[in-house]
């Protein structure tokens, strides 16, 4: 087999076509069941098997090539890969270039070898956990291989009620109450919370004064920037209120550029 042969290395990761045919075929075969993979790490682990070596001696460089080839093929076949596959591709491309180039003097951060070793560790650990899971499930299991007493005996009876509730019930109950809270009016009792209704009321009274373009911030109530919480709440409420009023045709608003002050003007009835 030619698994151990040194691979020619392409500089452009989008064209690693010079991989040996076996690896290329493997990558192509995998594309068919991309949905069957549980993320990039799972795929990398599968790819690593084509190297037929101990995971500790795996060539991360070769693995990166295989992975990038896979992503490349998928792109050509117009297969939508989830974002995490692309993130991994970008990272592997980076790792590959670092592995190929001599380190720049004075370069900070971990070396390419350290990063590669970590990836190998992750793969080995995932593999180990899979094997552990398989060994666990292969054990004798209760109700399948060994059994409990079929006729438990309770001779004398003393009646007692046991109230049942499990942890999930408890947590769900709590979540139910807390989620309900989010609807309850008393949430509004919080300090510094300014509602859109309040802002609308204010703006309705004030809009008469905005015959010409004026900054929205000029319409805020006194003390509105006293605390960050109040500032956020008041700003959001007034912004929502003017949007609402614009929708109703009561005013027009404009903004010069992103983050520029928002200006409003009363809209004359036609």
């Amino acid at each position: 087999m030619n698994d151990e042969t040194q691979l020619p290395l392409a500089d452009d990761w989008s064209l690693p076509e010079r991989l040996d045919p076996a690896a290329r075929l493997a990558a192509e075969a995998l594309i068919v069941d991309v949905d069957g993979f549980e993320g990039p790490l799972d795929l990398l682990l599968t790819l690593s098997r084509t190297q037929k070596v101990d995971l500790r001696r795996i060539s991360v460089l070769q693995l990166a090539e295989q992975y990038l080839l896979f992503v490349n093929k998928a792109a050509k076949l117009r297969i939508e890969l989830a974002a995490d596959y692309l993130v991994m591709a970008a990272w592997l491309a980076f790792l590959k270039s670092r592995l190929l180039l001599p380190p720049e003097p004075g370069e900070a951060g971990p070396s390419a070898e350290e990063l590669a070793a970590h990836l190998a560790f992750q793969l080995e650990r995932l593999q180990a956990m899979r094997e552990a899971a398989a060994r666990l499930m292969a054990r004798d299991q209760k109700g399948r291989d060994f059994f409990v007493r079929g006729q438990p005996e309770t001779v004398s009876l003393q009646r007692k009620t046991r109230w049942e509730a499990n942890l999930l019930d408890l947590m769900r109950a709590y979540a139910r109450i807390r989620t309900r809270d989010e609807f309850r009016p008393f949430v509004m009792d919080r300090e510094h919370v300014f509602t859109m209704e309040q802002a609308l009321d204010r703006m309705r009274g004030l809009i008469g004064y905005a015959g010409d373009w004026a900054d929205l911030s000029g319409f805020m109530p006194e003390g509105w920037d006293a605390t960050p919480m109040a500032r956020r709440s008041v700003t959001a409420a007034h912004f929502a209120a003017v949007l609402e009023m614009a929708k109703r045709g009561q005013l027009t608003l404009r903004q010069g550029e992103t983050f520029a002050p928002i200006q409003i003007r009363r809209r004359e009835p036609e």
Partner: protein, 214 residues
């Protein structure tokens, strides 16, 4: 296993000791007494469950459990003289009421908490019966009194509660955000409601961190 188990079993049954083990395991696990015929049906061909039963019966003589005959079937039964150990409350399981579980949840998450606080969070009055029930079950108990006007009593959860719910401490209970992110809760987006969630979280957190102070 032998090369031809099918054929071989026609000639040779497992040794009696092995047959005894088989009968022992089957009678132990069976939900009902079993007849010799029923035992034989499950055992390899050529076995003699009647003989195995005789040996087994002898083996359990004088033990805490006896092999007893029930009609024409066999079953293990606790020795008659040890019946007093089996006095076990017959437990009738009933689901805790919604009011009780909610009250319990609030106490667990906000402890030490007062009755007024529970009522504020639930939005309804807490009936005496609910608190009494939780007290009787020994899932909650009185905590220290609040140093606020009226010095109200507070409630906290007990060791028994932690035990029952498999928790090492009440602060190991996941907060709302964690519940959502672990998928332990349906993640229902609240229509038109994107403000107070974070504050809620903060509150739950601060409630929990109180636990660390003492």
């Amino acid at each position: 296993m032998s090369r031809e188990p099918e054929e071989q079993s026609l000639f040779e049954a497992p040794p009696m000791g092995e047959q005894e083990r088989m009968v022992e395991a089957m009678l132990f696990a069976s939900t009902e007494p079993m007849t010799v015929a029923e035992l034989a049906k499950r055992m390899p061909h050529g076995c003699d469950p009647a003989e195995a039963l005789a040996y087994l019966r002898k083996r359990y003589e004088g033990r805490g459990v006896h092999l007893t005959r029930v009609g024409d079937a066999w079953a293990f039964r606790t020795a008659g003289d040890l019946g007093h150990l089996m006095v076990r409350e017959q437990v009738e399981s009933r689901k805790l009421s919604r009011a009780a579980i909610e009250t319990l949840a609030i106490i667990a998450y906000h402890q030490p908490t007062t009755r007024a606080e529970i009522e504020e969070i639930r939005g309804v009055a807490v009936s005496r019966g609910t608190i009494d029930q939780l007290m009787e079950m020994e899932w909650i108990r009185f905590g220290r009194r609040r140093m606020t006007p009226g010095r109200p009593v507070t409630f906290v959860v007990t060791e028994g509660f932690l035990d029952h719910f498999g928790l090492e401490s009440a602060r190991d209970l996941p907060g709302l955000k964690e519940l959502r992110s672990t998928g332990l809760l349906e993640n229902r987006p609240m229509p038109g409601q994107d403000l107070p969630r974070d504050d809620d979280e903060d509150e739950a957190q601060s409630g929990q961190s109180e636990l660390f102070e003492d």
